[in-house]
Symmetry: C2
Subunit: 420 residues, 2 copies
């Protein structure tokens, strides 16, 4: 029986013939190299060579080249051609290994001299990967169960200032947020275990407040503690979270890397809130690096439960369309029998106002939305800010225009005035 | 006493005022955020805020912008300004943690809407990092000792085809290379532990040949086995390497990530040959991502012993100047009392011909040079290919022109003819 195959889609730009460059990419990422090799027999190639299984020629680049290439021989007036293509590899050469998948689909090929643009658009993995990796332990359902939130999004916020508050000050802020009725709070990615706000003391102080509030009200606010660090540190911090009854752990994906994430998933008994800081350097140029559609698949399979996607009307460089496509990807099954769905996390300048567009674009209420000023700066206070977010989503889910819904709901009314 | 500080240098592009954007970057990566925050008091800012400690205005971008930014308000005919700047953070907010350093110096700031270009050029770490991380266990001296090579570069090669050879075929090739007098051989980064060439069988077959050759000749060729994988796999593979007397382990940095590398360094009793495949997506655009000068510091401190740098006259998109600057960085001390020097690995289309330019550009013979065709395709055979590489370096180190040196050395003579 033929080996299962891995597929990857790319957007390519080159001044040379796109078909020849695509073949060269396939060779470079499997049995070939820059020069003819005696050992690369036809039999060996048939067995292990990557193949170009699709190539669609696109319009040439409007100007060119997207990326400089030292020593590339470009004729004056040359056009830079673009193509969308698929490469395919037999699973047998690498096995169902995520780290080695990266070297295969996202390795040296970004450095090829004839390539003046290359974006990894998507990957498709054979079923063997679904049994080799755990995927999210909690995902959408597990997180909802722990947070006690059904049907609507988890309304969340971030501890701000990002750094500078001590453990007691953080706990005081959390107390205010718990009283306000929030579902979810997270550390900033800059706050982990610095001497100015040690992880252990922060957990102790914050969880005392969270647990007290849960005892009084029955609602246990989910706090994502940023345990990003070396492996032994993450283990120790995780155990401390368990000891104090915490319900979420946060890790920065580009900081811990793939082995760190796979290990964290193995021992972590809490939902993993995966922060994507650094994502900009992987994606910001349209003709270089990773699309989120490809990237999020790796981390979901490795075990993330929540994935950041920016948000509608965000303050970063990303378009709403891109954020929403990322979020939809998080809820698209990875495998038929192992969907690995994770909660997309909407953040950056989120207010009540974005609820309808977010719901329309995502087609689901399975998300976490974190609002800072949108909650804390509400003129009637943080509780009114949380209520307004909930009301906005109630309106969105019911298909009622926000302005209509707000007529009898002063919290939402004031929130909309504030965000206008 | 004031806290020690972390510094990072950036190249910035923006249509807005560079000074204001730099201040915004500092705020966003410490105590500030997009909107004014009640808790960000002057006292707190003084204690934890990042500072812009240097800003040099450069020429505007020739055209612009380097990177698109959704929703950025750019006036028609706007200029895109550039600056070189330094940000500085108190160590107290994060502590000497490499994973959290990444989130701080290379986190969200690449996504800022007003940023149309951002490259991390360099980082400087306070001494606390030098005690928190191990650095290379072997480095230059330890690798030379294990490989039994003094004063000159380690002459190496790569198993080719990259994938497709089985364990026995790999061993047969290694036998030929051992007889040829090679110092160093490495797996391709595409070859790890696929069903088509399982790691264990490859190690067994190859090390039988390497050990036999060592017994006969006293020379133990260093073979870098690619153990890239999940953590438990890497541990198991490492133990197998130790059992068979192997002397080098290879790992793909962008595949294992930082936590994977720090852990590998903890248990690995062999030099770690660090492969940088994927580096292209981190650096290929001149106004986005990482410079190698900054990037290699992270991995050296984490424990790499050998770092890939491309090579003079390489077949990739990188210039010789860039490769040589990367290689010099690998040999530049990280800390006065803990230099963490690692061997730069020159590869891609390397032949005898590049020895003088490489030596002139690097100013040292502390390197590994891997040649494929430059050795295997020598018309007098692989042994002549290795001899020619050694002779070329003898000439370079002695300041003798290659052509002169080759007059009485037919192996070198033929190598130069071949590479011409």
């Amino acid at each position: 029986m033929a080996s299962a195959r891995i597929e990857a889609d790319y957007l390519l730009e080159t001044p040379n013939d796109v078909r020849r460059v695509a073949d060269f990419m396939a060779g470079e990422q499997s049995s070939g190299t820059f020069v003819a090799i005696p050992g690369e027999t036809p039999e060996l190639k048939a067995r292990v060579a990557a193949q170009v299984t699709r190539l669609d020629v696109l319009d040439d680049a409007p100007a060119g080249p997207s990326l400089p290439s030292a020593g590339l021989d470009v004729k004056p007036g040359a056009r830079f051609h673009r193509a969308s293509l698929t490469l395919s590899w037999p699973l047998d050469t690498l096995g169902p290994s995520l780290p080695n998948l990266l070297a295969t689909v996202a390795g040296n090929l970004f450095e090829l001299k004839s390539v003046t643009g290359l974006k990894l658009l998507d990957i498709r993995l054979p079923h063997e990967f679904s049994t080799a990796y755990a995927g999210p332990r909690f995902g959408v359902e597990g997180t909802r169960r722990l947070a006690g939130v059904e049907r609507r999004p988890l309304i969340g916020t971030i501890i701000k200032p990002s750094v500078g508050l001590g453990p007691q000050e953080s706990a005081a802020l959390v107390e205010e947020l718990c009283r306000a009725g929030i579902d979810f709070i997270k550390d900033d990615e800059l706050q982990a275990d610095g001497p100015a706000c040690p992880f252990d003391q922060r957990v102790e102080s914050v969880m005392r407040v969270v647990n007290d509030h849960a005892q009084r009200t029955g609602k246990k606010v989910m706090f994502a503690f940023n345990l990003t660090g070396d492996l032994d540190q993450m283990r120790r911090r995780h155990d401390l979270l368990m000891k104090h009854g915490a319900t979420c752990a946060m890790a920065s994906l580009n900081s811990v890397g793939l082995v760190g994430m796979v290990e964290l998933r193995r021992f972590c008994e809490l939902p993993i809130h995966a922060h994507r800081n650094g994502w900009g350097y992987l994606t910001r140029h349209p003709m270089l690096g990773w699309s989120y559609i490809a990237w999020q698949k790796i981390w979901r399979l490795a075990g993330a439960d929540h994935m950041h996607v920016n948000g509608v009307g965000n303050k970063f460089a990303e378009s709403d369309e891109s954020s929403l496509a990322s979020a939809r990807a998080c809820l698209t099954p990875l495998f038929d029998d192992k969907p690995c769905k994770v909660l997309p996390v909407f953040s950056s300048a989120q207010t009540a106002r974005q609820a309808p567009a977010t719901y329309q674009g995502l087609g689901s209420a399975d998300l976490i939305v974190t609002a800072g000023g949108g909650i804390m700066a509400h003129p009637l206070g943080a509780a009114a800010g949380v209520a307004a977010m909930q009301e906005a989503w109630e309106a969105a889910l019911g298909g009622v225009p926000l302005a209509d819904f707000a007529r009898t709901r002063p919290n939402l009314q004031r929130a909309l005035e504030m965000a206008a």
